[in-house]
């Protein structure tokens, strides 16, 4: 039988293999054929693997996730020849379920960016319109899933790197509650924020992949015990309290087409039986972005200190050691990591620590409190995921601050360690609009339930129009 990788869900693919309609080898080969056909245009993958046999589903893996024996570059020249000698815990976990790696997907360098244009290996293109970005940093994983180049994928999210590309590519992405998924073996960016999560074609696949990777890991002391995942069914939202935070839905940066699609989805919540009410998180949007762009660079400046040319990664030639460090890092890092290392080092340096990093940590407490207060009245909060649909390549590369605004609405909940789910909720100018669902810590099952109900009611076709 023909395998339509653009439409096949992971759940259906698993059933086809189980019922012996297709073999594991045929399934893997179908995705490889799709990659050969479409990836030269889209550049989702930095490295493509060979089938090592078995019946498990194929999966794409963001290139910040360490894979034993398979190059892991984090989109950086400084890790160009790095081949991990061990698997990240999430990779071990999905391998124990039989999943097979299709390849490593493109990312902004060290996951720093919102368009995948900061990759040292060139940008990924949006499958809905190749002149546009797929979002970032996990643009490779999101674009691969939407273009039928993988049934599902893993991404990582620090301030929106799973949800925002899923929004711009029209698929489902979960940033899990901080601490539910191990980061052992992941290239670290900002450790109080980094999370690994699934990208999928629908909410049930997303929930299933989450159930495979989530759980406590003795190699990551920040992991916690996780409630059992319930695969969502049904469309009824009776009894659910949906909050609509004013500042997240009426910000001036939100495009009219995005606002309209999200408003229709909110109306659908009501029709499905939910109680919908407005609320206010007055400081979360306004101060979330500056708070994030102090804390994340501060942590990055510390995490990226390990790239010194000594134990692994690129080394520049120099006669003397200090010169070797400095030249290695100058030649190995691109502009965005350099900007963040410099901002972070400055914010942590003597004389500036209290005013910048210390103050940002206090703002973080304010954001946590505002969200906690909203969750006394509501089970989920809804808003656009991204203020805009996919923008054109090059549109924001010269202005880092304009690029940072892409994560305006995803950042606040990340700062609070909360889970967030993106689902597509319609089109604006022929491009996908993403709806963001935020819940309290460990409320993934609620997000899956709401996301699935809305997904059924909206009936969004996740296949890019030009590929149908």
């Amino acid at each position: 039988m023909t395998i339509d990788t653009l439409r096949l869900t992971a759940e259906d693919a698993a059933r086809l293999v189980r019922e012996k309609e297709v073999s594991g080898a045929e399934l893997y080969a179908a995705y490889r054929a799709a990659i050969d056909a479409r990836d030269p245009e889209l550049h989702c993958y930095l490295h493509v693997c060979e089938d090592e046999g078995g019946d498990g589903l194929p999966i794409a893996v963001k290139d910040v996730i360490g894979t034993r024996g398979i190059p892991t570059t984090a989109g950086s020249k400084i890790l160009e020849n790095y081949v991990p000698v061990y698997d990240a815990t999430v990779v071990k976990r999905f391998k124990s379920h039989g999943l097979r790696i299709l390849g490593k997907t493109n990312t902004d360098e060290f996951a720093m960016g919102s368009s995948t244009e900061n990759s040292a290996y060139g940008p990924t293109h949006n499958p809905w319109d190749p002149a546009r970005v797929p979002g970032g940093s996990g643009g490779g994983s999101a674009a691969a899933v939407s273009a039928g180049l993988a049934p599902w994928a893993l991404g990582s999210d620090t301030g929106g790197s799973i949800k925002q590309p899923s929004a711009l590519c029209g698929n489902v992405g979960l940033r899990p509650t901080y601490g539910t998924v191990s980061r052992y073996g992941i290239v670290a960016f900002a450790s109080s924020l980094d999370q690994v999560g699934p990208v999928a074609r629908n909410v049930r696949d997303c929930a299933y992949l989450y159930s495979i990777i989530a759980g406590r890991d003795h190699c990551d002391s920040t992991t916690v015990d996780v409630p059992e995942t319930v695969l969502p069914e049904g469309e009824d939202l009776t009894g659910l309290r949906v909050g609509v935070p004013t500042e997240f839905n009426e910000h001036e940066a939100i495009e009219p087409g995005v606002r309209d699609a999200v408003q229709r989805a909110i109306e659908l919540c009501r029709e499905l039986g939910a109680e919908v009410g407005e609320c206010s998180l007055p400081r979360s949007v306004e101060y979330g972005l500056p708070c994030y762009y102090l804390i994340a660079p501060a942590e990055a400046s510390s995490n990226l200190a390990r790239y010194d040319g000594v134990r692994f990664g690129y080394r520049a030639h120099a006669e003397e050691r200090l010169e070797m460090y400095q030249r290695t890092r100058d030649e190995g890092f691109g502009d965005e990591p350099k900007r963040r290392i410099l901002v972070g080092t400055y914010a942590l340096s003597a004389g500036y620590y209290e005013a910048f990093y210390g103050q940002a940590q206090k703002v973080r407490t304010v954001l946590i409190r505002e969200h906690a207060e909203a969750f006394e009245r509501f089970d989920v909060l809804v808003s656009p995921t991204s203020p805009t649909v996919a923008f054109e390549l090059g549109a924001k590369t010269a202005n880092p601050l304009a690029m940072y605004l892409s994560d305006l609405l995803t950042i606040p909940s990340c700062m609070a360690g909360l889970p967030g789910l993106n689902i597509p909720c319609g089109l604006s100018d022929g491009l996908p609009v993403g709806l963001q669902l935020i819940g309290p810590q460990l409320s993934e099952n609620t997000l899956f339930r709401v996301g699935h109900a809305l997904e059924q009611a909206i009936g969004f076709d996740p296949v890019p129009v030009r590929l149908r």
Partner: protein, 96 residues
Amino acid sequence: MANISREQLLHVANLARLELREEELERLEGQLNDILAAVSKVSELDLADVPPTSHPLDLVNVWDADEPYPCLTVEEALANAPEREGNYFKVPPGGA
């Protein structure tokens, strides 16, 4: 309003072990000042009584069983070394 001088930028770059070339300094200096001006917004809030958050989870003292488990071999640990000598990572002499 934060404003980073060329001298401060060179100092911070040295702390971060980044050798910045002249054309990079030109480009980054303006961008860094724009970024610092934007993030300085956090100072608008009076948060004298608010405790800082370093981590979003309420975890204190996470213990693991005191049992050995397999770790990397010497060869694995050295597999990605840019340069080695015997069982050591080799680096150029001198400096900080």
